[in-house]
């Protein structure tokens, strides 16, 4: 085994199981469990007057019905504020079951458990809830106006207000020779994993032990939260994330009401209980993201260099803030992308509305920040008549300036300091890939055929691999089988493959002998979770360190047995052998045998480790003072800060001159996530991210009416892209290593979706010749913008006005 597996596009080891229907997702477990369903509020803002279950009690198959009053102790208290922040002055969290007031359609009011889901839903339909209506606050405009309040005791509907400033923005703005102002809007979408949430809990009354399975992005987080709520010692609770059918952020939020209630009911009833979210529940009770109003003022010199950037934005955080203000903080900080404005000030207001709560969705505030920054770059270029790529290049942080400290505080409370990246090189590659310089000719040719095309561009930087830490445990069995456990979870990222690739290289064992477990608190109780594009960076490096520790121990044992120096040994294809004398050595499994002195010979391998086998020093104990039996390695990786990946996208779109239909003709991606463990998997992440980005740019939005009803809460009406809507993505990569971690890697999970909305807006604007300031955009909306433009209500881009003038003069 001499081939290095790190960097190889090897096929995924999880796939044979998943393509044959042998995956085990949440609802594939617990066939004999009772099943739960919920009475959920049909009103966005109301007081609960009465819950009448009389009729429901007659439902055949019913086991029990509970509302808030039935929940004792911590289960009945408000759910935890997971990420407090000093600027979050008015945090509010919901209850597992609504306590007297509901604040969004979909909020859980009563838990019903029955012998199966059919019966549970029968009972739900027979429960009558009476409400006193309160005025719902829907949409950022209403929230900001604060004529009505979501929470009576939260003035102005403001959960948080945070301002950061670097340099003197007022002075720099006043001195700037050019100034522009942009008012921007970006609407709500949601993660929409194909598998919704789900919880299955088993209470073992003999052992007084709770095991729960949750379709989560953090098994350790759910375990700790449930133990706290149920008043159980941590040692009496385990949480396992089984196969998880996508997450994209919504499953990092925890504990969801159901994650608390299902284990609680299982313990109460002494019977397994399961809840599987259906799609409508997912729409109205799992979180959304993206919605922001933005005001940008920018001052710049005649070359297009940004001297002052002043950003204000209003962020819709929905009804509650359990996940803190992570999303708007990321918007505020990652907005800067690859650029270095002379002075920067950002202030945001995170506002309550009577809608589903808002927590990170892939990109987590970055798509909004990128939209603001990139719309600004395009506006500067248009104002000055300079090429859009050129304006960007002039504002780039240069490779020689790395590490680059923006002087801001990032979402992890640590400095926003870029570790590496070569933005000019990325831009050059992008221009080459999309044919930037040839586009004008292409546009003319298209125009001659009556076609309207546009070219768009967007650049971003993404802080990935945030701390605090992840850990790994590597155990080598006497058979040579290597068991690797890390605590964070997997939702399709191929961890069983990429982590095995790392271990194969570090240990020198065949890939086939390595078995990776993620998201199981029985195997690794110390972990944070899978979010912020952090799994490869955090667990990847922890696993490398743990494997190195196991390797060192194997070498030491073999060195003692072979009476050579450990420095003279190597491990190749699972054999520890003397360098230059490959026949002298032993299998790594044999070092595992020797690592664990035995009394009992239960198999041939064990016989070699028993007390009458071989020779030993009678003056030494079988296990030395500072040693442990077994061939294991355990280590943790905890970086000082995030590592910053980056990328640049360009798209060519065509807009139908009559129908305003928007078609993406080409989509090009340059992506730099440092060293790639498995380029095939990285590409897959980019493809998927772009597809979600396209959804967010052209199709997806959460349509709430003024009473807070989500009008499109189904896949019939919420337009998630099919294959026919997603363009073929052309990719190229840079690999600028991160100096922060031993493997030189950066995260890749979220990258693909970050700039898409900005890129598509840029391309449509370029095709149409007037500014695009609100996304997503549908053909109908584009058509209406055309009408406004024709009526003179919407100005032309300078470059189009100039072209028109030039044509008239000809």
């Amino acid at each position: 085994m001499t081939t290095k597996l790190f960097g190889a596009p090897i096929a995924r080891r999880e796939d044979p199981r998943l393509v044959t229907g042998n995956g085990r997702y949440l609802d594939d477990l617990g066939h004999t469990a009772y099943e739960a369903a919920f009475v959920r509020s049909p009103h966005a803002h109301a007081r609960i007057v009465d819950i009448d279950v009389t009729d429901a009690l007659e439902t055949p198959g019913l086991i029990g019905i509970w509302s808030h009053e039935d929940l004792g102790g911590a289960v009945g208290e408000p759910l935890p504020l997971l990420i407090p922040h000093p600027a979050l002055t008015h945090p509010r969290t919901g209850y597992a079951l609504a306590a007297g007031e509901v604040n969004h359609v979909g909020e859980a009011i009563a838990l019903v458990v029955a012998e199966d889901r059919y019966a549970a839903e029968d009972a739900v339909a027979r429960i009558r809830v009476d409400y006193d209506f309160l005025t719902p606050v829907v949409g950022l405009e209403k929230a900001r106006a604060a004529t009505d309040l979501v929470h009576a005791e939260v003035p102005g509907n403001v959960a948080a207000n945070l301002r950061q400033e670097v340099g003197d923005v007022d002075a720099a703005m006043a001195a700037a020779p050019n100034r522009l102002r942009l008012d921007l809007t970006i609407e709500r979408s949601a993660c929409m994993p194909m598998e919704g949430k789900g919880v299955y809990a088993k209470w073992d009354s003999d052992a007084e032990h709770l095991t729960l399975w949750s379709s989560t992005q953090t098994a350790t987080g759910v375990r700790a939260a449930v133990a706290a709520r149920l008043g159980l010692p941590l040692a009496k609770v385990d949480c396992i994330a089984p196969d998880v059918g996508g997450g994209f952020g919504v499953k990092i939020m925890h504990p969801w009401p159901e994650e608390v209630l299902i284990p609680w009911a299982a313990r109460l009833l002494g019977h397994d209980v399961k809840w599987t979210e259906d799609r409508r529940e997912h729409f109205i009770s799992s979180s959304h993201e993206r919605g922001q109003l933005q005001e940008v003022e920018v001052g710049f010199d005649d070359d297009g260099r940004v001297l002052a950037l002043d950003v204000k934005f209003w962020h819709d955080n929905g009804a509650f803030t359990p996940y803190g203000i992570i999303v708007p903080i990321i918007t505020a900080t990652q907005l800067l992308g690859p650029y270095k404005p002379g002075a920067y000030r950002v202030e945001f207001w995170s506002l309550y509305t009577n809608t589903v709560l808002v927590t990170p969705y892939r990109g987590a505030g970055r798509p909004q920040g990128c939209f603001a920054m990139e719309r600004t770059m395009d506006a500067i270029a248009d104002h000055l008549g300079i090429d859009r790529a050129e304006v960007r290049g002039r504002n780039f942080i240069q490779p020689a300036e790395m590490p680059y400290d923006h002087g801001l505080m990032f979402q992890d409370g640590r400095p926003l300091k870029y570790d590496s990246g070569d933005f000019p090189a990325s831009l050059a590659k992008l221009k080459e890939l999309v044919g930037w310089e040839d586009f004008a000719t292409y546009r003319e040719q298209a125009a001659a055929q009556g076609r309207r095309v546009g070219l768009g561009i967007g650049c971003y930087v993404e802080g990935t691999g945030v701390g605090p830490y992840e850990g790994a445990h590597v155990v080598i069995e006497t058979s040579g089988r290597v068991n690797v456990a890390t605590g964070l979870t997997t939702q399709g990222q191929g961890h069983q493959t990429v982590f095995a690739q790392i271990v194969a290289d570090e240990l020198g064992v065949p890939l086939e002998s390595i078995h990776v477990t993620t998201g199981d608190t029985r195997r690794m109780p110390y972990a944070v979770g899978t979010f912020a594009s952090r799994a490869a960076v955090m667990s990847g490096n922890a696993i490398a360190l743990a494997a190195q520790a196991a390797r060192a121990k194997a070498l030491k044992i073999a060195a003692d047995a072979l009476e050579v120096s450990a420095d003279d040994l190597e491990i190749v294809d699972g054999r520890v052998r003397v360098k230059g004398a490959p026949d002298t050595g032993m299998s790594i499994g044999m070092t595992a045998v020797l690592s664990n002195p035995l009394r009992y010979a239960f198999d041939d391998a064990a016989q070699a480790a028993t007390q009458f086998a071989g020779t030993f020093d009678p003056d030494k104990p079988p296990v030395g003072d500072d040693e442990e039996p077994g061939l294991e390695g355990r280590d943790f990786y905890s970086p000082t800060q995030a590592t910053f990946a980056n990328g640049m996208h360009a798209a060519i779109v065509e807009t139908d001159p009559v129908t305003a239909e928007i078609t993406i003709l080409r989509y090009c991606v340059i992506h730099d996530c440092g060293m790639m463990i498995n380029p095939m998997i990285v590409e897959g992440q980019v493809h998927g991210g772009v597809a979600q980005g396209v959804g967010g740019a052209l199709y997806e939005r959460m349509v709430y009416d003024e009473s807070g009803q989500l009008l499109n809460a189904s896949f019939m009406d919420f337009l998630m892209p099919y294959a026919t809507e997603v363009p073929h993505v052309e990719t190229d990569h840079l690999e600028t290593p991160s100096p922060l971690n031993p493997l030189g890697i950066k995260g890749a999970g979220e990258a693909g979706c970050i700039p898409v909305t900005a890129v598509i807006a840029s391309a449509i604007e370029d095709a149409e010749g007037f500014p695009i300031t609100s996304m997503p955009i549908s053909p109908v909306e584009l058509w209406e913008l055309r009408q406004r433009h024709e009526r003179g209500e919407l100005p032309s881009l300078h470059r189009r006005a100039d072209e028109a003038t030039a044509k008239e003069q000809q």
């Binding site: 796939d15 995956g23 194909m194 799609r279 399709g492 493809h687 997603v726």
Partner: protein, 173 residues
């Protein structure tokens, strides 16, 4: 507010329970189920063939697609009783861990899946499609999968998988 237990027969609200026998992946399998039992639940929970996944329960996402007498159908939009006596092919009938079927092999070869939740519906859909059109173009392959939702892959590698599966089937025959 706890109610008394009642047995499962009564749990079905006195509704008719019907013995249903379906030929699933070539084997006649049966269970006695309420008339309202969905085919998807019958396969997943009565027969414990959990490879068929349920992503929306309103027939849009396609994750629950199975072949009914060879034709792709949404098993979440059918009652089990409607499939009585008919042949149903699920993802488990399209190959095994020991020997992946050609479409399954193609997905593994082309990185055509990430979380894998939607994959069974694609595998069954593509299996039926390639019988109809064994040599699709790339555009036809894309059209063929355009009734199934995937949130992870962006479809690019699924399109590739369709073409690869066509090649694998072509090599077999």
């Amino acid at each position: 507010m706890t109610a008394e237990h009642s047995n499962l027969a009564a749990a079905q609200g006195g509704a008719t329970v019907i013995p249903v026998a379906v030929i699933v992946n070539g084997v006649t399998r049966g269970a006695t189920v309420p008339a309202r039992r969905l085919l998807s639940d019958f396969l997943r929970h009565d027969l414990r063939l959990t490879g068929t996944h349920v992503g929306c329960e309103h027939g849009v996402c396609g994750a629950c697609t199975v072949l009914l007498d060879g034709e792709p159908v949404r098993s979440c939009l059918m009652f089990a009783v409607q499939a009585a006596g008919r042949e149903v092919t699920t993802v488990e009938g399209c190959g095994t861990l020991a020997e992946l079927g050609p479409v399954q092999q193609a997905f593994a070869d082309c990185h055509g899946l990430q979380c894998g939740f939607c994959t069974p519906g694609f595998v069954t859909t593509i299996t039926a499609y390639l019988r109809e059109n064994p040599t699709p173009t790339e555009a036809e392959a894309r059209e063929a999968i355009s009734g199934n939702l995937c949130r992870c892959t962006g479809y690019q590698n699924i399109v590739k998988s369709v073409l690869r599966a066509a090649d694998l089937i072509g090599e077999q025959s």
